[in-house]
């Protein structure tokens, strides 16, 4: 069946090139490139682009309150909202919290994912049951973050909760400790949940990256007698760099906009005492636990957006610049070799 179809197709190809009317029709059907893109473009314009532009607009207005009659652009100090947000201590606190929580989650997450990747892609002493381990490590990622957060908060419950129960009964603590009322511990718990939910995902991405590296490189390293450790440091890691940077950027964006876990783990307002207040919770609270302060919320959104843009651009520029530098270096080397070869050829005469 299939071969018959391809035969037909070959015939068609001939016809197309010889008959003018069909060629005309072919030009015509390319218009469907536009037609099939229309739903995407329309929905994007209405539900994505317009809200984005509108958010930018609101950040330069006096918008406040649910049913405000007239929203007007700021005329004198157009960056007033931004200034006010930058001076807002809760916003600053939220910004610092968000970064602290993200770093506490990302560094261990990447290190563990790299270690597991090194183990799972070894060529000697293969680890069995990898399929099972991957499924189990990834499992927390698919579970609703809000549920996971409440589950951890229940496990760390005070005065009665499983973790306190275990620690008191085993003699580590003399009496129950209110973990989620401790600012540092609350932050660490949020970071841990984030780490626990995402290291499996990062590991699977990194493993697939290793499997995409040309196996010949590993073969020659093996022939040269390089140890697994050296092979990983000198061959696998440099080849994984683009994927690691991709994970870095996606994790950074996810981390900066983190909402579900800190929202569900304590009182819903980033407690205890603003310890887990993140950017997105701050933005949400400007609207819903106050007086619909759109100007503040939109200015805060735009500031965070700007931070994301700058950081992502920085990461990508760092990546491409280094590659370009490498290329330049290699070009120089090649030129040198070429010149030397020319020189040799000249010296060698007709040889």
């Amino acid at each position: 069946m299939k071969s018959l179809e391809t035969e037909n197709a070959n015939d068609v190809a001939v016809e197309v090139t010889t008959e003018a009317p069909i060629r005309h029709r072919r030009l015509n059907h390319n218009a469907f490139g536009y037609i099939f893109s229309i739903p995407f473009v329309i929905v994007y314009l209405i539900f994505h682009l317009y809200p984005t532009v509108y958010t930018v607009f609101l950040s330069f207005t006096n918008a406040r309150g649910l049913d405000q009659e007239k929203i007007s652009l700021l005329t004198t100090n157009i960056f007033d909202n931004y200034k006010r947000i930058l001076d807002n201590s809760s916003f600053r606190e939220g910004f610092v919290n968000t970064f602290a929580i993200w770093i506490m989650n990302f560094i261990p997450q990447m290190l563990l994912a790299l270690l597991l990747t090194a183990w799972f892609t070894r060529h000697r002493n293969k680890i069995r049951g990898q399929g099972f381990f991957k499924v189990v490590f990834y499992m927390p990622n698919i579970i609703t973050a809000a549920s996971v957060a409440l589950l951890f908060s229940a496990l760390l419950g005070y005065p009665i909760g499983p973790v306190n129960d275990l620690l008191v009964k085993s003699g580590v603590l003399s009496k129950s400790y209110y973990f989620m009322n401790d600012k540092t511990i609350a932050r660490i718990v949020v970071a841990f949940i984030q780490f626990w939910m995402w290291y499996g995902y990062t590991m699977i991405i990194l493993i697939s990256g290793v499997l995409g590296i040309n196996p010949e490189i590993f073969e020659s390293a093996d022939v040269d007698g390089a140890s697994e450790f050296k092979t990983f440091i000198h061959i696998t890691l440099p080849n994984l760099k683009p994927i690691m940077l991709y994970t870095l950027v996606t994790s950074l964006i996810g981390g900066i906009t983190m909402y579900d876990i800190p929202k569900s783990i304590t009182d819903g307002n980033g407690g205890p005492r603003n310890a887990t207040l993140t950017n997105t919770i701050f933005i949400y609270n400007q609207i819903f636990s106050g007086d619909y302060n759109y100007k503040n919320a939109s200015a805060a959104s735009m500031l965070i957006f700007l931070v994301i843009l700058v950081l992502s651009a920085f990461v990508f520029i760092m990546l491409t610049d280094k590659d370009e530098a490498q290329e330049k270096k290699e070009n120089k080397k090649r030129m040198k070799e070429f010149r030397r070869a020319q020189k040799l050829a000249k010296q060698g005469g007709g040889f």
Binding site: V41, F57, L58, H123, F305
Partner: protein, 304 residues
């Protein structure tokens, strides 16, 4: 980004030509294996333990949980806990389940169908703005919805769409991540000759899309559908903004916050049952489809 898509999934099988019989090496290998398996088993237990405690405690009564926070064996109070959680308070698992189901199915269908269509436009036709359009899709790929949510909410409020599921479903028609993945999958695998011969047979482009392209893309669509569904199901920020005022519209993740209510403060078993109800559908989906999910992440890694 493209590098990730390039993985062909072929495991490099290397033949070690080095002697491995030397006892020192063997000893090292054994130590490595012990350490590696110990760490892996520890991590596996770490993944399972919280959920284990949740499911077990869902079957235990509050006095039992007070006496021993952790138990390895289930008790007999499951029915009692379920009875409490379904009759008392505002937490309504079934309502949350069906609300989430409507939103997730709606947005998944919209997302997959129109993303495949957009990808088809990007792969099968030659048009002037094609490359510009693809670059544009790459550029918007990573814009987080949370940061434009303020404008979105105010816009929806103005057109009286808050409290409706539509703003949670329709925007997925323009899912850049899904379009990107579908395009990467479609580009090498769509046989242009078949399209051409269908055209000669007089089939229109819309018919070609529905009768040839969609069936061919089924595997990729299924993978993306799983991720789209789970992503939509787990969404908290947008639904919470739009549906906050109407408790009958709460989605499953929003129901979770109701478990913090005062009436559950001392009903430990009931809280665990409520939590178990919110995650059970995902566990079922995961254990049925984990193979495809793991393969799907390795392929594209496009998430939320």
């Amino acid at each position: 980004m493209t590098l990730i898509m390039d993985n062909n999934g072929v495991q490099p099988e290397l033949t070690s030509i080095q002697e491995e019989n030397r006892p020192k090496k063997k000893k090292k290998a054994i130590v490595f294996k012990i350490v590696a398996y110990a760490v892996c088993i520890f991590l596996a237990l770490l993944s399972i333990f919280p959920f284990w405690v949740m499911f077990i405690n869902a079957t235990r009564s509050s006095p039992e949980i007070k006496a021993h926070g952790v138990s390895l064996i289930p008790s007999t109070h499951l029915a009692q806990n379920i009875d409490y959680i379904t009759k008392q308070g505002e937490f309504k698992a079934m309502r949350g389940f069906f609300n989430s189901l409507i939103i997730s199915i709606g947005s998944t269908l919209c997302g997959i169908y129109f993303s495949t269509m957009t990808a088809f436009a990007l792969v099968a036709y030659e048009w002037k703005l094609k490359n510009a359009f693809f670059t544009f899709i790459m550029a918007i790929l990573m814009i987080p919805a949370q940061l434009t949510g303020i404008g979105f909410y105010k816009f929806m409020y103005k057109i009286h769409m808050t409290g409706s599921f539509i703003p949670l479903i329709i925007p997925s028609v323009a899912a850049a991540g899904t379009v990107f993945f579908m395009r990467q999958y479609m580009k090498p695998s769509l046989p242009m000759e078949i399209l051409q011969s269908a055209r000669i047979d007089g089939a229109g482009e819309i018919r070609i899309f529905h009768t040839i392209v969609l069936p061919l893309m089924k595997p990729a669509m299924a993978t993306q559908a799983i991720f789209a569904f789970v992503n939509s199901w787990n969404q908290l920020f947008m639904p919470q903004m739009l549906l906050l005022r109407d408790k009958t519209k709460y989605t499953m993740p929003m129901m979770v916050s109701l478990l913090r209510g005062d009436i559950y403060k001392t009903e430990f078993g009931a809280i665990y049952v409520g939590l178990a109800m919110t995650v059970l559908p995902l566990f079922i989906v995961y254990f049925l489809l984990s193979k495809y999910i793991i393969a799907g992440i390795a392929l594209g890694g496009v998430k939320g």
